[in-house]
Symmetry: C2
Subunit: 341 residues, 2 copies
Amino acid sequence: MEIKKNATYGDIAKYTKFSKTTISRYFNDPDTLAPASREIIAKALVDLDYQENKVARILANGQTEFIGVIVPDFYHHFFYEILNRILGTYENNGYKFLVFVGNKKGEMERRYIQELMAYQIEGLIVLSHTLPSQELAELQIPVVTIEREDQFVSSVNTDNELGGRLAAAHLAELDCDVLIHINSHSSEGIPAYDRVSGFSQYCRENGLRHQVIIRPLDVSYEADKQTLTEILEQVEAQYPGQRKGIFISNDTLANGFLNVLFHKFGCLPSTYRLIGFDDSPASRAAVVPISTVGQRLEQLAQEAMALLSDQIRAKKSGAASSAPVHRVVEPVLIRRDTTAG
Amino acid sequence: MEIKKNATYGDIAKYTKFSKTTISRYFNDPDTLAPASREIIAKALVDLDYQENKVARILANGQTEFIGVIVPDFYHHFFYEILNRILGTYENNGYKFLVFVGNKKGEMERRYIQELMAYQIEGLIVLSHTLPSQELAELQIPVVTIEREDQFVSSVNTDNELGGRLAAAHLAELDCDVLIHINSHSSEGIPAYDRVSGFSQYCRENGLRHQVIIRPLDVSYEADKQTLTEILEQVEAQYPGQRKGIFISNDTLANGFLNVLFHKFGCLPSTYRLIGFDDSPASRAAVVPISTVGQRLEQLAQEAMALLSDQIRAKKSGAASSAPVHRVVEPVLIRRDTTAG
DNA sequence: TTGTAGGCGTTATCAA
DNA sequence: TTGATAACGCCTACAA
């Protein structure tokens, strides 16, 4: 069986006695063709089983319509959900996505980026936090980051400060004797850090007794459960009989903590109120559905793409690359059963 | 600020007084160059800040190294985990992935595929189940499907029949009075259907009392919980006081059922043993860690890529496209607490 | 070890 | 309304 090569404009031209230019026009400017010609060409396309070749088009006009995406991993609900939404924008703007998973190694990500540049991507979306934004800015193509350090590039972030405040405020409504925030160590400058300060700020401003517990977490479910068990012991010893409002840095950990509570008490005792962060499936599907602060994933993705295509357009029209734009999306409090009553 | 165009082989050639061919060789066959020449060129690349353009290379040699991927959604652990692993194979074989999310509408997926073909993908991996394999086979490029109808194309699937048997056998070990399988309706011909028949077969072969309950499930967590509550009532009425071994079609539902049990009994009563399917995070992170039948995601992805690159190689070397190959990966029983004792 | 010339399948520019 | 011709940036004989 022969490998039959695809038909080209040349073949269509020969077959129809038109020139290649006319065939090209059929696709890019059909209105300038005589209706009769259009029909002839349409028929020829079918007869020759024509398959368009956009690679050749890229070379000729420079528009790849490729966007590179670098995601750090797929373990966190956040990343694959955002990716899902980004991919979904194909329906609106036609950009195709070349996706890479970053492995936290700077060298790898640099290679990924080189590869993406070699394929002439028109823009880049970065969710991984390995490379400093300064380096990304040097790429000379539009870059938008989501929820990561973003000093030198445009970005979209959740208002994490507000998220921390929402959580604290919600727990405060429940007459807790003490508010406790559990988190792993995160460095200043990255968005998630603001959750901590938002929480603390709110408590301080409103004279609420509170405490922040930082431990190595997000290791593995089992390891985290162990750590959370220890934290529970500590908290129990420290605030016996008092009502504790717990804000945990993400829903997976919140679910883990809830399970630890069930392990100890067989239920969610009335001395504990609990709120997580992310609105991940883990919160909804927990034994007791967990209240949480949800990021607006759809909006984050939409804003990121909007920002990126603006910049791509601007670059095409020859505008000088302007200063980084930082957009912020408000999180939303989701009340479920762990903070009911 | 000027938009400076990227340097090309032509520029490097002029700068170094070599010919374009030599520059090309520097990249594709460096050994045939004089070491001195290599150094000169290397320096020129830096001086001119050269950025390679793989689009032009594609046009010249026909190798895009693109692979198209179509995923149905990101709600099921299975899909994004497989995608994750597929993307990870970049490290080994250098294929770049253009990813689309199918929206269960045939027309859309056809457009996605047309787009992918226009970008000259060398192969296609399909996880979505919208288009019949016959249609995929007509594309005339290597196609591999994963866990879906696959009559006319190559595929990789979990041995779902075995999965059903493993679950039944495991429950049988626990001296259950009756084995019950809960599932939503799935049509014959798709892999997941075999789980049901594997379960039933095993029970029949071993003279085990059993029942298959089919209900509309996988709707939403809340709706499913309602349905599962009803199922629990039914089962309780039907087998009062007896020990019931429950095999549920996926971990999210298993987790839902466990929560329903907790809601009713405050614990996992000894009259219920429970096993899910998938080894998704939901099973590990449930109040009581749920036993499950795990698919070997890494292997599924690896096999799929191996199969695909074999076919791509074969096609390049002019081999006639041979008959579809179907590979099977054995699932693995994961014992956790819902089937302990 | 290096160079010349032509081609990959489009689009862009001018011209008719 | 249509064509001729030259890019686009690289690769591949074939030559030297």
